[in-house]
């Protein structure tokens, strides 16, 4: 990213190829609106191009990118007056394949897992997605969310506990 900032714009293609799918899934897992998620990804990279000079070399690219990603979401929510909500139905239709039995005994299928994820509060879902899928360190998440590492640690742990709880609730229905 430092090279991009210093004028080697073509290097941004590399960053795009490396991160755009993960970024897209960051949005999809939170709201599951695929068209909107694509627009968000597009907007994030547009902002990266536009505000490349604001990137400070000492930080990592990922926290910076997710910082922009969150702002895109917030701006959208402000503009349309609502928060992006998790769309369970879309996930039901697409991800209903059963997990092989030998993988994890307790987990019957991905659909139920997605439903459980959807039940999480947005704050818990976000930290779980960031730490599990975006592979961000707690310190980076803490910096991104503007809280302490301890808070992130507790929130991830609680998110996973809630996920288990919701999963068995759904399984029992």
């Amino acid at each position: 990213m430092i090279q991009v900032r210093d004028g080697e714009l073509h290097q941004l293609a590399l960053l795009f190829e490396r991160h755009h799918v993960a970024l897209y899934n960051y949005y999809v897992r939170q709201a599951s609106d695929r068209d909107l998620s694509e627009d968000f990804v597009q907007e994030v990279f547009l902002r990266i191009i536009k505000y490349r000079h604001t990137f400070r070399g000492e930080g990592e690219f990922l926290p910076w990118m997710y910082h922009i990603a969150r702002n895109v979401q917030i701006d959208h929510a402000r503009k349309w007056g609502r928060e992006t909500k998790y769309d369970e139905e879309t996930h039901d239709q697409i991800c209903d394949d059963p997990i092989p039995d030998d993988h994890v005994e307790q987990l019957q299928n991905v659909g139920m897992l997605q439903k459980a994820l959807a039940k999480l509060s947005p704050e818990k879902r976000e930290v779980l997605i960031l730490s599990r899928y975006q592979e961000m360190k707690y310190s980076a998440i803490a910096e991104l969310l503007g809280c302490t590492v301890e808070v992130v640690k507790v929130r991830v742990h609680r998110a996973l506990n809630d996920l288990r709880k919701y999963y068995f609730q759904i399984a029992g229905e």
Binding site: L9, Y24, E38, C95, V110, L113, L128, R132, Y138, K153
Partner: protein
């Protein structure tokens, strides 16, 4: 280390994010605590299970749009580099006056300088203009004077008495005294066959009575005039102008035996008036 503490560290333990010392403590605790061991196993399973959520791919349109925008940006950057519009650092002038403002300011300055130049050029011209104008005006004046003279003289030479009268009227248009017109008028007074023309000429000449030569000419001409009307007008004119020198001429005229009676009386009365 109690269970709560371990639970807090379990996820990091699973993800191998703990420092050596803490990791060792957790490992020791897990070896002795079955509850924590089970919890750790469960969390680990769930953490792995989350991996099962499909990683979806966005449509190709996202990539296409991104590369389009990137290409545009790269081209724009190239252009900036080629034409040197983009400067790495802004000078204090650019800081105070951003590009558009600086451009406008420069334009205004150019217009101001141009205006000043044009103004100074225009201002220089009047210096020579009065001379030119004066010359031109004098020339024009002379031309008008000449035209007037020519017209007067030419009209006075016409066959028709009314045309000659027009000529005399024309003579009034000349400012001051034009010697040639005066000569023409004297000629008309002396030799014109028409009394009206002679009378008009006398009237016109009365404007030049202050000129000695004109007055002299009139004194010489009057005794020769046969028309009593002209004689009477002349006498009235002299009396009106209090020309005492005309008394001698009057007396000379009185000696003329064929003198009109009325004229004779007017002369006598005039002599008395002039002498009084």
């Amino acid at each position: 280390m109690n269970n709560n503490h371990v639970k807090e560290f379990l996820l990091e333990y699973i993800n191998k994010n703990l420092d050596n010392q803490t990791e060792k403590s957790v490992r020791l605790h897990l070896a002795s605590c079955e509850t924590c061991r089970k919890e750790c196993e469960s969390l680990s399973n769930w953490w792995s299970a989350l991996e099962q959520l499909p990683n979806e791919k966005p449509s190709e349109a996202v990539r296409e749009k991104f590369y389009k925008v990137l290409q545009k940006e790269i081209e724009a950057q190239q252009q900036l580099k080629t034409y040197g519009y983009q400067k790495p650092k802004r000078s204090w002038f650019e800081f105070l006056f951003p590009q558009p403002v600086a451009g406008r300011l420069a334009f205004a300055l150019v217009i101001l300088v141009l205006g000043g130049l044009i103004g100074s050029l225009i201002k220089q011209e009047p210096k020579s203009a009065p001379i030119d104008d004066k010359t031109e005006l004098t020339q024009l004046h002379e031309e008008v004077k000449l035209m007037n003279r020519l017209l007067t003289v030419s009209l006075l030479q016409q066959q028709s008495a009314s045309e000659r009268l027009k000529g005399i009227s024309q003579s009034y248009r000349s400012e001051g005294s034009d010697p040639e017109i005066t000569v023409a008028l004297l000629q008309a007074l002396k030799y014109d066959p028409n009394v009206n023309v002679r009378l008009a000429a006398l009237d016109a000449l009365s404007r030049n009575l202050n000129q000695t030569d004109v007055k002299q000419e009139l004194f010489e001409t009057l005794p020769k005039q046969e028309s009593p009307l002209v004689q009477l007008t002349f006498i009235d004119l002299m009396v009106q102008h209090r020309e005492k020198s005309s008394v001698d001429i009057f007396r000379q005229m009185l000696k003329n035996p064929g003198m009109n009676k009325s004229v004779k009386q007017r002369i006598e009365q005039g002599i008395l008036e002039l002498n009084s």
